[in-house]
């Protein structure tokens, strides 16, 4: 069935809805019938006041209008390991409509202790492939772009232009400094997170600021080293990063701007240090 008239589609959506909610199954069937992408139908449904059931329990914490902002948002996740996998999972469940995930790496057995997207059957497989499959399995309305090459500034200049927020989920200082400088050039806010063992840190850097450079000033040449990290530290820091991303996108709440949060789970301490 070819639909040219929004009114007809809205009528069909209304038929699908029960007390202001629409189920995935019904919208998917309508997408097949009308040849209109699922994401577009869900946006149209939201405009008419029908909330996809997937987002029902978001509404209240965020408004229906804010859910629509998330559905149209563009967020890039750089690194898809312990932090990135958790960040991606949460962005998909929140309904951030356009997500770019960037990681050249494949899963190895030693990732299983902490990386949410890793599993025995995916050892040797690309992390971003696993990421896009996971996102599609949770939320097929999300447009996910995957990039399976090493992070590099030159490529990032073109690729990251137009994104509203970038999540730093990298695993080494040189790349983090490159990403920070790139985001400054592109005028994109950067949500930084890092973990090691029982400790983690996060901060949100706006364009024109250089908190990341201040943190890593002395250690800019240090090589990537093998460290130990248990599952709970990246899961926690990733959650904190996602909450920063959502506040950035919605323009409300308090951000960790010009301060760094230092988390120590062994001492169970959360400190914030102001940085000027």
């Amino acid at each position: 069935m070819k639909m040219d008239n929004d009114k007809d589609i809205i009528r069909l959506l209304a038929d699908c809805s029960a007390s202001g909610r629409v189920s995935y199954e019904k919208v998917r069937d309508l997408a097949v019938k009308t040849d209109i992408p699922l994401a577009n139908l869900e946006k149209l449904a939201m405009e008419q006041g029908f909330v996809p059931l997937r987002y029902q329990r978001n509404i209240g914490t965020i408004t229906a209008a804010e859910q629509q902002v998330l559905m149209n948002a563009k967020v890039a996740v750089i690194g898809c390991g312990g932090l990135g996998g958790n960040v991606l999972e949460q962005l998909a469940r929140l309904g951030v409509g356009n997500i770019l995930v960037w990681d050249y790496d494949s899963f190895e057995e030693h990732n299983l202790n902490r990386q949410l997207l890793s599993s025995l059957d995916l050892i040797g497989r690309s992390k971003v492939d696993a990421a896009s499959q996971r996102v599609a399995a949770i939320n097929p309305a999300i447009n996910i772009i995957k990039l399976a090459v090493e992070f590099n500034r030159a490529a990032g200049h073109t690729i990251l232009a137009g994104y509203q927020a970038v999540v730093d989920a990298l695993d080494n200082i040189p790349d983090r400094l490159q990403l920070s400088s790139l985001c400054r050039d592109l005028q994109i806010p950067l949500v930084h997170g890092a973990v090691e063992g029982w400790v983690g840190q996060l901060t949100t850097q706006f364009p024109g600021e250089n908190v990341i450079e201040k943190i890593y000033a002395k250690a800019s040449n240090s090589e990537k080293r093998s460290i130990s990290t248990p599952v709970f530290t990246p899961a926690l820091v990733a959650s904190l990063q996602v909450s920063e991303v959502i506040k950035l996108l919605l323009g409300r709440g308090e951000l960790l701007r010009n301060r760094i949060m230092l988390v120590n789970l062994l001492d169970m301490d959360f400190d914030t240090v102001e940085i000027f």
Binding site: D171, N172, A194, V195, A217, K218, R259, V273
Partner: protein, 76 residues
């Protein structure tokens, strides 16, 4: 003069989280680290902030300053 020293992550091991310490006027950050037996290795990687501003080993401290030292964490 009194300086508040805050230590983070492994720098706390065998030391403390936060402490107010007494030093003579003109004390530099390096001398505080010496007083706390912070090793050369710990010192070389430690990130130093005095009252939220990026500091150096030879920065001179003032009465009431808050010195925060934390290691660079970069894993993902």
């Amino acid at each position: 003069m009194k300086v508040t020293v805050k230590l983070f992550a492994f720098l706390r091991k065998g030391r403390f989280k936060a402490n107010i310490l007494e030093f003579p006027e003109g004390t530099r950050v390096l001398q505080v680290l010496d007083a706390l037996s912070i090793t050369a290795n710990e010192r070389n990687i430690g990130i130093l902030f005095v009252n939220g501003r990026h500091a150096h080993l030879d920065s001179i401290l003032q009465d009431g300053d808050v010195l925060a030292i934390f290691p660079p964490v970069a894993g993902g």
